[in-house]
Symmetry: C2
Subunit: 258 residues, 2 copies
């Protein structure tokens, strides 16, 4: 009479959960930071309660900066497509990309696999629109490559919000910090390194701040009294919510096993 | 006349580096901790300088504790073998397992793939033997499952060293801490939680300490004046040294491209 799904120790139904594939390495520390956030956000009392993550932390993804800003490097698209296909083949049910700039190639990646690919850009824009109805400007802490691709323009303007970028001088400070993080020099960065950039965006009229670079997420940006959102944290929340949907259903088997 | 390998930005030769596959999820935070150590130990000035990591962070690996201590659970071997084969197929050149207890199944895993599988146990025993010639006893901070499997006995005694475990009471404290880490309750642990265990091992005659549980590695064990080694850090060092061997050769192409 009572039909039971196979459960794993910890009580959640493994067979009903989703596996997340992560296209990583852009940079490697940002990939590890996303994984850490997913683990922290997952309700768990033992190993078995966690979400399966299949991760390709690949340093061979061509530089987004070289391809998009300098125009000197090859497109990262073919490598990203190969990674996505590999992770899907290994068993990923959905994919995530912990690099805002790489979302310029989201269409290419989505076209190459039959599993869903989460968009950190759309998820972030939606989070801001829901949290701050009527806000006119969102201040973006992002790499210059993100700005050049315009990945946030469509997502934000479709929701009536305009992206606001730092002044050229402040933007250079942002880039210096991103490159320092990629070089592993986070210890040498003062906690206040981004304060001028935050002031800059506030003075220009930003109603909230979005940390839209996974390297900056690593630093744990603070130093503003504006509401602050973090694209990596938003992506991690979405991964956990999506992966555990089926596990939640399992808690009420009568709803699914009729 | 000068034959050049394809290089990636940052100067290292991607084609000459090795990709590490990581059998993870035991637990997930310990897997992330190993990745973080590999990234920190890799000489890098940009993303491209890092080592490719293919990671299966899998919560569905049956509990080593249930299988080995309680005797109630299924063997983790089939799942570990499937993970190893998947990572090899995806392109891993070698494998590592950030879980000391899981090394009980190292023979099964090695028998299932044709790529090398690093042994955190042998690497740790060798590190201790080289660092402390003539030491009689190495104090092991490890799960009770590690002790029951005896994975360290052969590796240490072959090098003339005897493993020393905490008293039953102290060992229970170790297990409580391991389970707290797996449940994500690291914040509630006092930094001194393991001090009694360390004293216990020192009084029993340990000449050095080996942190032989990846959950304890996460905590960054201190609180002893004995020399202290960490199996996760030793594994990370070995991954970096092995993966970059070919990149180092690339720096002297005449040695390989004759």
């Amino acid at each position: 009479m009572t039909q039971r799904a196979t459960t794993v120790p910890g009580g959640l139904a493994e067979a009903h959960r989703k596996t997340i594939g992560i296209l990583g390495g852009m940079g490697p520390a940002a990939t590890v930071d996303l994984m850490r956030r997913v683990i922290a956000l997952t309700p768990a009392t033992d190993d078995a309660d966690h979400i399966r993550m299949l991760v390709d932390c690949n340093p061979a993804v061509p530089s987004r900066i070289a391809a998009l800003i300098d125009g000197t490097g090859p497109s990262p698209a073919p490598t990203l497509i190969a990674m996505a296909r590999g992770l899907a083949k290994l068993g990923a049910d959905m994919l995530a990309i912990p690099c805002n700039t790489a979302h310029h190639y989201l269409g290419d990646i989505r076209g190459a696999v039959s599993i869903p690919v989460l968009s950190m850009i759309d998820l972030s824009a939606e989070t801001i629109a829901l949290a701050h109805p009527g806000v006119a400007y969102a201040g973006l802490m992002a790499s210059t490559a993100v700005r050049l691709t315009g990945v946030y323009e469509n997502a934000l303007t479709a929701r009536g919000i305009k992206p606001l970028y730092p002044s050229p001088r402040a933007q250079q400070a942002v880039m210096d910090i991103i490159m320092a993080v990629k070089a592993g020099r986070t210890e040498s960065l003062p906690g206040s390194a981004l304060n001028d950039v935050l002031s800059d965006l506030q003075e220009a009229g930003a109603g909230c701040i979005l940390v839209a670079c996974t390297e900056l997420s690593l630093l744990g940006v603070t130093g503003t009294d504006l509401p602050l959102h973090d694209a990596s944290e938003i992506l991690a929340r979405s991964i956990v919510a999506t992966a555990l949907v089926h596990a939640d259903r399992r808690a009420h088997p009568q709803q699914t096993l009729t």
